[in-house]
């Protein structure tokens, strides 16, 4: 499939100029979309010095070192002028403008050279310690667990609560059904920042601050989710529900055994949205969670950015780790998005 897409052309025998234009345009799109991600990924493998190199490099470069026994790891330099021009020497120490160098092959002879007459030897090296450091130096697993817990539990609750509301609003005829639904949709027009303070006050009253449940509960019922599911459920034939009622099914059973399984495509769409919302959510958790042991990943990322220094290498590595689960989930479920949207429209 992919190769035929890559070589698709308009001109029958040769490449038409429109083919060039189309491919260039698409390539620009690819670079635009994946360039930052690729740069992020590569940068997360750079050491702190690699990150500070100027001009910035794309690949994770680092100064090469050599192991010199009891003298420890020594940085390698290439001498650019004078006696040892062209030779690669290890720097022992630097005193004023003089650098003391040794030849790694003959470590006993100390060579003195002016500091300016040499340049560092660079090599590509992936600084995986950025990642391992996340686990050893920071409470990364804790944050990961917090984020995961919130995402999974909140998504399940969101699906449950929203689908029940959608079922009620789509399959029962009662007075005030439309006003209730419109009222619910109307809340979409209120910016979250406006209700931030009232929400916080309520959360405080309920003792939900500094608890993961304080992040989970307030956003469990979403107008978007109810709308999405309701519109889908409207397309499910009423006769199925009537048949189930004739089959002695209780209303709960109709919901659980008939409506929920048949709404799977719409539920999948909502699940993806919910996972993305929850995983990336920043403002509300920051307000509710102030103790570091209840931090979610976005909050932890934020905490790397100190007032004076920012540990970019860890920050980038953690960003990558944060991105991976959501990308995987999206890749698995993305076909349901199109399916859910398509089947909601047709029929």
């Amino acid at each position: 499939m992919a190769p035929s897409v890559l070589t698709a052309q308009r001109g029958r025998y040769a490449w038409d100029w429109t083919d060039w234009a189309a491919h260039l345009y698409l390539l620009a799109g690819v670079v635009l979309m994946f360039g930052p991600i690729a740069w992020l990924g590569l940068s997360s493998l750079k050491s702190e010095t690699g990150l500070n190199l100027f001009p910035p490099t794309f690949l994770p470069y680092e100064q090469a070192t050599v192991d010199a026994g009891e003298r420890g790891k020594l940085r390698l330099f290439k001498v650019t002028e004078g006696d040892h021009q062209g030779e690669t020497l290890a720097e022992l120490r630097r005193i004023g403008r003089q650098a003391q160098l040794i030849d790694p092959a003959h470590p006993e002879t100390i060579i003195r050279r002016p500091g300016a007459a040499r340049e560092p030897v660079m090599q590509v090296r992936a600084a995986v310690e950025n990642y391992s450091g996340l686990f050893s130096q920071f409470n990364f697993l804790r944050y990961f667990w917090n984020s995961g817990f919130i995402t999974v539990v909140a998504t399940l609750l969101t699906l449950l609560v929203n689908s029940m509301a959608a079922f009620g609003l789509s399959k029962y005829r009662f007075q005030g059904r439309e006003p209730v639904f419109l009222l619910m949709l109307a809340t979409l027009m209120i910016p979250p920042t406006i209700v931030l303070v009232p929400n916080y006050l309520i959360a405080t009253e309920l003792g939900l601050t500094n608890s993961l449940w304080g992040v989970i509960w307030p956003a469990v019922a979403t107008p978007t989710g109810v709308f999405l599911l309701r519109q889908y459920m409207l397309t499910l034939p009423d006769e199925l529900i009537e048949a189930a009622r004739m089959d002695n099914a209780s209303e709960w059973r109709i919901y659980w055994r008939i409506i929920l399984p048949l709404s799977a495509p719409a539920l999948a769409v909502l699940a993806i949205f919910s996972v993305m919302w929850r995983w990336n959510e920043f403002l509300w958790p920051m307000v509710v969670l102030s103790r570091s042991e209840v931090y979610t990943l976005p909050l932890a990322l934020n905490s790397f950015q100190g007032e004076l220094t920012t540990q970019w290498n860890y920050l980038l590595a953690m960003t990558v780790v944060t991105l991976v689960p959501i990308t995987v989930i999206f890749a698995i479920l993305q076909k349901h998005i199109t399916q859910g949207i398509a089947s909601a429209g047709v029929k």
């Binding site: 034939p237 199925l240 009537e242 048949a243 089959d247 059973r253």
Partner: protein, 380 residues
């Protein structure tokens, strides 16, 4: 657990709209009753009221002698086959049939026994693990029926179950349903807009129009003695021919521009409007000889131009052929002025534009008064 059903002055209104108005009739246990009527006549609503999916605005519905107006659908002991089958698309055939039994906590072996039995009866044994989408229309129909059977209901309700099938399959399913009814002996109530289905399957037909019952009776009773114009026109295909005229006394009806028809009607006051009706198969074609038309006795009744010269007392009408339908075994002639359809046994050589003369035997003529009600007839 008697499967008798009786409706007493049942009404249903949606807001200001009366959908069912004052419907009363009884259905005996074990009968096969068909509700028939044009679309929008309220037959499906009536069925839904019986099964409990719609509330009753007034009147009583009794099943097996017990008034069930406020009994929820599931507790009425009925099973319904929906027009769209309403099979649960995410369940296999087995699960579809077992769902109702699971809901009333039937023991597993019992569920399996009943489903297996129904599947065998409906020849679905090999499809039990399939999903409904992998079945043909006829098979889905059978699953829907199977789902009803396993519940062992007092009454089966069918809401236009064959309307989604193609013509050939429909004829087959019709026979299967009749067989099923004979084997199970359970009361069945069947809704259709197709009078052929009603005629072929029912032992009692309830003809509905605009929310009220027009006539209740056995198929042939309705066919032979329709009580009003609507039933006369609705039952029978092709439909009965109607000619509007004025009563001129002694059962005779004068149809302006066509002629005067003797009928066996009694109690038809002279001077009132009247409609005569005759079925296509009762009209007899006179012999036609070279454009000249004579009746069986050789009396000339029409001149060469097709104009009527004599028909007094003879109930003869002449007209031109406006269309011919050859079905092989029988043929239909459609005449223009008068606009009547004539059924001829066998095949015919007549074609468009031919002049023909037909005879309307008085004994076969139905007469309806100004209100459209059938007028009593003396026996010939």
């Amino acid at each position: 657990m008697s499967g008798s059903l009786s409706l007493r002055r049942v009404r249903k209104s949606f807001g200001a709209v009366d959908v069912i108005r004052d419907v009363s009739f009884d259905i005996r246990d074990g009968g096969f009753t068909v509700f028939v009527g044009p679309s929008g006549c309220g037959k499906s609503t009536l069925l839904r009221m019986i099964c409990g999916l719609e509330t009753v605005s007034a009147g009583e519905i009794a099943i097996g002698g017990d008034v069930v107006n406020h009994v929820p659908a599931a507790r009425r002991g009925l099973a319904m086959v929906f027009q769209s089958y309403a099979l649960y698309p995410h369940m296999t055939v087995f699960q579809n049939m077992a769902f109702g039994l699971e809901n009333i906590a039937t023991p597993k072996p019992e569920i399996e026994r009943r489903v297996a039995e129904a599947a065998r009866m409906l020849k679905l044994d090999t499809y039990l693990q399939r999903k409904p989408t992998a079945l043909s229309g006829g098979q889905r129909q059978r699953v829907a029926i199977g789902r009803a059977i396993v519940r062992e209901p007092r009454i089966f309700l069918f809401d236009e179950p064959l309307s989604n099938l193609d013509a050939e399959l429909r004829v087959g399913m019709r026979a299967e349903l009749t067989d099923l009814h004979r084997r199970l002996g359970t009361t069945m109530v069947y809704v259709t807009h197709d009078q052929t289905e009603a005629m072929t399957m029912a032992d009692t037909i309830v003809v509905l129009r605009a929310g009220h019952v027009e006539q209740v009776g056995a198929p042939l009773e309705l066919y032979n003695n329709p009580c009003n114009l609507f039933v006369a026109g609705f039952i029978g295909s092709p439909r009965m021919n109607f000619l509007d005229g004025v009563s001129v006394g002694q059962g005779a009806v004068e149809v302006s521009g066509i002629g005067r028809f003797e009928t066996l009607a009694t109690e038809l006051p002279a001077g009132g409007r009247a409609t005569i009706g005759i079925r296509p198969e009762h009209i007899r074609l006179d012999d036609t000889i070279g454009g000249r038309v004579s009746d069986a006795g050789g009396n000339r009744v029409s001149d060469a131009g097709g104009n009527r010269v004599s028909d007094a007392g003879g109930n003869h009408v002449s007209g031109t052929v406006a269309g011919v339908e050859q079905l092989g075994g029988l043929s239909y002639l459609r005449l223009a002025s008068p606009d009547v359809t004539v059924q001829i046994a066998g095949q015919t050589g007549l074609g468009y534009g031919d002049a023909v003369s037909v005879h309307l035997p008085p004994a076969a003529i139905h007469v309806f008064d100004a209100d459209g009600l059938a007028v009593g007839r003396r026996s010939p």
